[in-house]
Amino acid sequence: MTLLPLPPSASTMAPRVDALFYAITATTVAVAIAVFVALIYFGVRYRAGNPVPRHEDIAEAQRRARIRVELAWTLIPLFLFLCAFAWAARLYVDRGTPPAGAMAIDVVAKQWMWEFQHADGRREINELHVPRGQPVNLVMTSQDVIHSLFVPAFRVKQDVLPGRYTDLWFTATEAGRYHLFCAEYCGTDHAGMGSGDVVVMEPAEFERWLASGARAPSAAMRGEALFRALGCSGCHGANAAVHAPNLAGLYGKPVPLSDGSTTVADERYLHDSILQPHKEIAAGYAPIMPSFAGRIGEDDVFDLIAYIRSLAPATERPR
C-alpha cells in the first residue's frame, strides 16, 4: 500500500492512523470523482447548441427534482462525516492517554534544540534513543517559546509549551533512525530544530547504550538541591516548625484560596507562588512567604517545579 507517500510506519499508532487515512482518501476521492463526472457530463450534454431535450419550465423541473436529491445529498455526507469523526476521535483519545507503566523521558525544548533526559539521568541533545516495543511517554516542556515535537514515522505530534507539561506517548515497532521535527514555528533557526533523529533500538541494545553514557542530575534532582539550598525545606519540609503548605502530592490538586476561590496547583500556580507569593494565598495560611523574584532565574523556577511535580504520583497530572 504505497498509493500515498506516507513516511515509514514505525509505531503502534502508525498503521491505525494509516488505515483511517486510506479510508478517508478512498471516500473523498470517490465523491470528488462523482462530482467531477457529473460536472463534465452535464457540461458536455447541456452545452449551448447541443440539441438534447430540455425541460420547458426549468424552475418547476428543479423544484420537483430538489425534493428527491437535496435531502439525500445532505444526509449521506452527514452520515459519512459522523463515521469519519468517530473513527478519528477514537484514535485521538488513545493518543491522548499514555498507557500506565510507560517509560518516562523528560524533554526540554529551547531555541533551538531538544534536550532529552532518561530516567537514570542519561542526557542527549537533538537525538532520542528509545527501545523497540516498549511504550515511551515524553514529558515535555519549553524554556522559552512554543515548540512542537513531531515524529512523522510514528504519526504523532504534540506542542511543547512554556510553563506547563504536555505528554506524547508512542510504542516504536521498527528499529531504525527517523526524523524528529519541530513543527511549531519558534524563530530564526526553527528548521534547525528539525534536523534531529529518533533512534529506535532493540531492547538489549538500548540497555547497553543507556549504560554507556555519562549521567547528569535530572531537573527534579537539581530542583531538590535548590529546594534545600534556598531554604524552602525549612518551612515546606516534613518536620518544619513554620505553618506552611506541605508540597508532597500537591501537584495537580485543587487548592482553596483565602479569598474563597479555588485554583489547581499546576505549573502556572507553582511558578507564580514562587515569584509572586502574595497573589494567591492558600486558605488557612499566613502570607509570610518571601518572593524569590530577582533572586532566582526562570531555569531555577523550572527545576523547582520539576521537583515539586516529582513529589506527586504521575496519575494526578491534569489533562
Binding site: R47, Y92, S148, A153, P162, Y185, H190
Partner: protein, 561 residues
C-alpha cells in the same frame, strides 16, 4: 420600460484599434486625481480598492516568489533563515489582510451591492471612503515596516514568541493590521445597513441575488469577529511594550489564550474570504448555464449556516496545542458539520448545469475552476477535521496546500471570474475572450501544479515554515516551484489584456451576457447615480427561462439583439 430603453446607443463594429469615446458615466464625472481621492461614489471607491489590492497582491506574490526559489534546493542557500522567516510573514500578512479579506467584498461588493439591490449608493458613502483611507493607510504603513525592517513572527503572531522573543518590528505591524481591521468593520456595517434599508421595490429578501446574500453574511462576520482581533492585537502590544503578563507564562500568562482569541477571529475570517467567492460563482453559474440556481433558498440558508457554524470551529487549529482532549473532540464534530453546507453548495452548483444551455466564456471557466479547486480544498479539509489525521498533518505542507486550494485556488479564481464577468459593466469595455479563456486555463493548471505536490509533501511529513529541509523532499518542492512559474503567468496575463481593454477595448453594451439582475438594467458603465429610472424587481432572481440556447449571449455582446 424595457431594459434596452436604458442603454445609451453604442457604435457597433468599431475597429478595436480606435479609442472610442465612452458615454457619460460615473467614470467621466471627474478625471483628476483629486476627483478620485475625494469621491464618495461606491463605484469609484471600488476601483480605488481594486487598484490597491492589485498592488498589494503583487508585493505579497513577490515574497512568495523568493520563498519558492529558496525551497528549490534543500539547503538554505538563497536567503538566510532570518530573511526567509520575514518573507513568509510578509507573504501571509499581505495576502490575508491586505488582499484576500478586502478582495471580493471591497471591490466587487462595493461596486455591485447597491446596483444589485437597485440603490443609488451605499448607506454611508463618506464612511465608505473613510474605510478605504484606513485600509490603504494601515496597509501601506505595515508594508513599509515589513520591507524596511521586517517581522519574523508569521502572520499568526503566536505568543510568547511575538511578545517577548522576536526582536523585529512587531509593534508596527500590529498597529497597521489593527487600523486595517477598522476598515473591515466599517465596510461590513455599511453593507448590512444598505442591504436592510435600501432595497428597491420588489427586492425581497428571497429575491436577493446570492452574491448579496454572501456579502450580507460576510459583513456580519466582519462586524462580529474583527473586534476580537483588534482586542487581541492590543493585548499582544500590552505584553510586548509594558510587560503585562497575558500570554507568556513567565509573566503569569497563558499562551493558549492567545491562540483561542486569534483563531476566534481568524477562522471566521476564512469564511470572509470564501463566502463572497461562492456568491460570485452562483451568479456566473446561473448566467452561463441559462438556468436558475438549483435550490436558491437552500443556497441562501447554506451561506448563513456556514457563517454561523464558522464561529464555533476555531479550536480545530489547536488539536495538538495542548488544549483539552475533550475540547478537541467537540471542535472536530463541529468542523465536520460546517462541511455539510459547503458540500451542499457544490452539489447544487453542479445540478444548476442540469438541463442548461451552457456556454464557456471566460467567467464560466474561472467559476468552474473555483468549483474544482474548492472541492479538492474542501475534501482535504475533512482530513484535517479528523482528529487523528490532523495530529499527523497539522503544521505540515498539507495544511498549506489545503488553505491555498480554498483561499487562493478558490477565492482568487472566483475573484478573477467576477472581474471578467462584470468588467464590461465596470469599465464599459469588452476584453479579448480568447486571451481570457487561455489565462483561466493557465491559472487552473499552474495552481494545481504548484500546490498539489504540497499535499504530498505534507503527507510525507514536511513541516511548514522551514527554510531548509531534508533532501528526500526535494523532488516535490522542485515541482511546486516550477508550477509557481506557470501560476505567476496566469496572474500576470489578465493585467495585460485587461489593461489593453481598459484603453482600447470595444465599448460594451449594457448587458453583454444577457444576464438577469438589476445591475445589468443600467448602462455600461453606469451613471453616477446608478439608475436613471429607479428599477423594480418583478420576478425571482435568475429567471433565465426565456433564453434561446445561449445564442442570446453572443447577440447581446455583439449588440445585434
Amino acid at each position: 420600460m424595457t431594459p434596452s430603453d436604458l442603454v445609451a446607443p453604442v457604435p457597433s463594429g468599431a475597429p478595436p484599434e480606435a479609442r472610442p469615446a465612452l458615454p457619460h458615466s460615473y467614470l467621466t464625472e471627474g478625471t483628476t486625481l483629486r476627483s478620485w481621492l475625494t469621491t464618495t461614489d461606491h463605484k469609484r471607491i471600488a476601483i480605488l480598492y481594486a487598484v490597491s489590492i492589485t498592488v498589494f497582491f503583487f508585493i505579497g506574490g513577490a515574497a512568495a516568489t523568493f520563498m519558492r526559489l529558496e525551497l528549490a534546493t534543500p539547503a538554505g542557500d538563497v536567503v538566510s533563515a532570518e530573511t526567509y522567516n520575514k518573507l513568509f510573514t510578509m507573504h501571509g500578512v499581505i495576502m490575508v489582510w491586505f488582499f484576500l479579506i478586502p478582495s471580493i467584498p471591497a471591490t466587487l461588493g462595493n461596486f455591485l451591492v447597491p446596483l444589485m439591490i437597485g440603490a443609488r449608493d451605499l448607506a454611508f458613502p463618506r464612511l465608505n471612503l473613510a474605510s478605504w483611507y484606513l485600509y490603504v493607510g494601515g496597509a501601506t504603513f505595515t508594508i513599509i515596516a515589513m520591507i524596511a525592517g521586517g517581522v519574523d513572527t508569521g502572520w499568526t503572531f503566536y505568543a510568547p514568541f511575538s511578545t517577548l522573543f522576536s526582536n523585529t518590528h512587531v509593534i508596527y505591524v500590529l498597529a497597521g493590521v489593527f487600523v486595517v481591521g477598522f476598515s473591515s468593520i466599517l465596510t461590513g456595517l455599511n453593507f448590512i445597513v444598505t442591504i436592510h434599508t435600501m432595497r428597491a421595490p420588489g427586492v425581497h429578501w428571497f429575491r436577493l441575488p446570492l452574491f448579496v446574500w454572501a456579502q450580507y453574511a460576510t459583513s456580519a462576520i466582519l462586524v462580529l469577529a474583527t473586534p476580537v482581533l483588534a482586542m487581541t492585537l492590543i493585548l499582544l502590544a500590552l505584553e510586548r511594550i509594558a510587560g503585562i503578563g497575558i500570554f507568556d507564562p513567565a509573566l503569569g500568562g497563558d499562551p493558549l489564550l492567545f491562540q483561542h482569541l486569534f483563531w476566534f477571529y481568524s477562522h471566521p475570517a476564512v469564511y470572509v474570504m470564501v463566502l463572497p467567492a461562492m456568491g460570485v460563482v452562483s451568479e456566473i453559474f446561473a448566467c452561463f448555464s441559462r438556468n436558475p440556481i438549483f435550490g436558491y433558498r437552500t443556497m441562501a440558508y447554506a451561506i448563513i449556516a456556514i457563517a454561523v457554524i464558522g464561529f464555533l470551529v476555531w479550536g480545530h487549529h489547536m488539536f495538538v496545542s495542548g488544549q483539552s482532549m475533550y475540547a478537541g473532540v467537540a471542535f472536530s464534530l463541529l468542523s465536520f458539520l460546517v462541511a455539510i453546507p459547503s458540500a451542499v453548495k457544490v452539489f447544487n452548483w453542479t445540478a444548476t448545469l442540469w438541463h442548461g444551455r451552457i456556454r464557456y466564456d471566460a467567467p464560466m471557466l474561472y467559476a468552474l475552476g473555483f468549483v474544482g479547486l474548492f472541492t479538492i480544498g474542501g475534501m482535504t479539509g475533512l482530513f484535517l477535521a479528523a482528529l487523528a489525521l490532523d495530529v499527523h498533518l497539522t503544521d505540515t505542507y498539507f495544511v498549506i496546500a489545503h488553505f491555498h486550494y480554498i483561499m487562493v485556488g478558490g477565492s482568487v479564481s472566483a475573484y478573477l471570474g467576477g472581474i471578467h464577468f462584470w468588467w464590461p459593466k465596470i469599465t464599459g469595455r469588452l476584453y479579448s475572450d480568447r486571451w481570457a479563456r487561455f489565462a483561466a486555463i493557465l491559472l487552473f493548471l499552474g495552481f494545481n501544479f504548484t500546490f498539489f505536490p504540497q499535499y504530498l509533501l505534507g503527507i510525507e511529513g514536511m513541516p511548514r515554515r522551514y527554510h531548509a529541509y531534508p533532501p528526500e523532499f526535494q523532488t516535490l518542492n522542485v515541482l511546486s516551484s516550477a508550477g509557481a512559474v506557470i501560476l505567476a503567468l496566469g496572474y500576470l496575463l489578465p493585467l495585460i489584456y485587461l489593461g489593453w481593454s481598459l484603453f482600447r477595448g470595444r465599448p460594451a453594451p449594457a448587458n453583454p451576457w444577457n444576464a438577469t439582475g438589476l445591475e445589468w438594467r443600467t448602462s455600461s458603465p453606469p451613471p453616477e447615480n446608478n439608475f436613471d429610472v429607479r428599477p423594480e424587481m418583478t420576478e425571482p432572481p435568475y429567471a433565465y427561462r426565456e433564453a434561446r440556447l445561449g445564442r442570446d449571449i453572443v447577440e447581446a455582446r455583439e449588440g445585434t439583439q
